[in-house]
């Protein structure tokens, strides 16, 4: 005897509505591929490229608690804003983000990152300087690479001091597509500070 989709969906939504979940997640289709989007009661906590739901659920359970369940409704606001973003109708996300499990430095950098505007570029070094660690460009690169909520926190807007795209957790091709969508992929760059010794690592 198998559980009907209706019964299954009814339980999942009831579980979410009752506030019993540590994490709700679902898949979202976008022009740059299927994403796995996860939220807690505090906000968006994960966006994964190339999702592997089983592995992702394990990882979410490890970080946020074992009550992880796929559910549609809690993800809908994120899905909706992502749709608008990819249609070019939204230049800013209005979503709470759950960064409670980030180390203080990562959180500081991610909070700065959140303020890099749509269609603008910045550099690893510039973000490091804003986080009061001007020599930490390489560490900023690592934070970007581990950005838990790409797109919403726009690490695609961070490039090398020489203007090269450098790297992206979801693959350089996606970084390029996002920047083209935002009209940011012009040869012009903001005044980038000189690269710190050692230079940034790939992000």
């Amino acid at each position: 005897m198998t559980v009907s989709p209706t019964l299954d969906a009814r339980f999942r939504e009831a579980a979410a509505a009752a506030g019993l979940l540590d994490v709700a997640y679902d898949l979202a289709e976008t022009p740059i591929g299927t994403l796995l989007v996860a939220t807690t009661d505090r906000g968006v906590c994960r966006i994964s490229y190339d999702p592997e739901p089983e592995r992702d659920a394990e990882s979410l359970a490890h970080t946020f608690g074992v009550r992880v369940l796929r559910a549609t409704k809690p993800i809908d606001p994120v899905r909706h804003q992502l749709d608008e973003y990819f249609e070019g109708k939204r230049t800013e996300f209005e979503l709470p983000i759950d960064l409670r499990h980030q180390a203080p430095f990562s959180r500081a950098v991610l909070n700065r990152l959140a303020r890099v505007p749509y269609g603008h570029l910045t550099t690893y070094g510039a973000l490091a300087a804003e986080a009061h660690r001007p020599r930490a460009a390489r560490a900023v690169g690592t934070v970007m690479n581990r950005n838990p909520v790409p797109i919403v926190l726009p690490c695609h807007r961070v490039v090398g001091a020489n203007g090269s795209l450098t790297g992206y957790g979801g693959g350089l091709e996606r970084k390029e597509l996002l920047l083209k969508l935002e009209g940011a992929l012009q040869p012009t760059l903001p005044d980038a500070p000189p690269a710190p010794p050692g230079g940034p690592s790939s992000a």
Binding site: M1, T2, V3, L7, D8, R10, F11, A14, A15, A18, L20, L21, D22, P53, E54, A57, E58, L60, A61, H62, G65, V66, R67, V68, L69, R70
Partner: protein, 150 residues
């Protein structure tokens, strides 16, 4: 990590949901779908505090059986004159039909007592008579119904 940890609720749920529904169909029949939701909501409430990872199947089936017991209790709590298996309408709806044809006062007393669970004092007040008169009307009505059903 290394140690065996409790799996994400999603994997637990996927693995056991068919078995839970099967067991509930066996135990409570047509109420299985409501009982299914109740079972997994209870499991979810306890899941965060779960220490063991062995026999999660046995654990969730135990919860399902407890939910089924609660369904039986609820059925037994409905008035004796109604047949609980065949109808899910509220008790007063069934009683109203059943009590049709009783003398007016007896009918009102039966429906208010057994359908709406009102006290005899309240029924007496509602009918403009006394607590004792309400009790007598209700028991006369029930006797008449019993005779009619035999």
């Amino acid at each position: 990590m290394g140690l065996v940890s409790v799996p994400p609720f999603e994997s637990f749920y996927e693995e056991h949901r068919d078995a839970v529904l099967r067991e509930l169909r066996r135990l409570v029949g047509k109420d299985a779908e409501d009982a299914y939701q109740e079972t997994f909501l209870r499991a979810l409430r306890a899941y965060g505090r779960l220490k063991h990872t062995e026999n999660l199947r046995a654990w969730v089936l135990t919860i399902a059986r407890r939910v089924a017991v609660d369904y039986y209790r609820r059925r037994e709590a409905t008035p004796v004159v109604v047949e609980p298996e065949t109808d899910s309408r509220p008790a007063y709806a069934e009683l109203r039909e059943l009590a049709d044809g009783l003398p007016r006062k007896e009918r009102a007393a039966v429906v208010l007592r057994y359908g709406y669970d009102m006290s005899y004092a309240a029924i007496g007040a509602a009918l403009g008579s006394t607590e004792d008169a309400a009790r007598q009307a209700a028991s006369a009505g029930v006797r008449r119904l019993r005779r009619r059903m035999q």
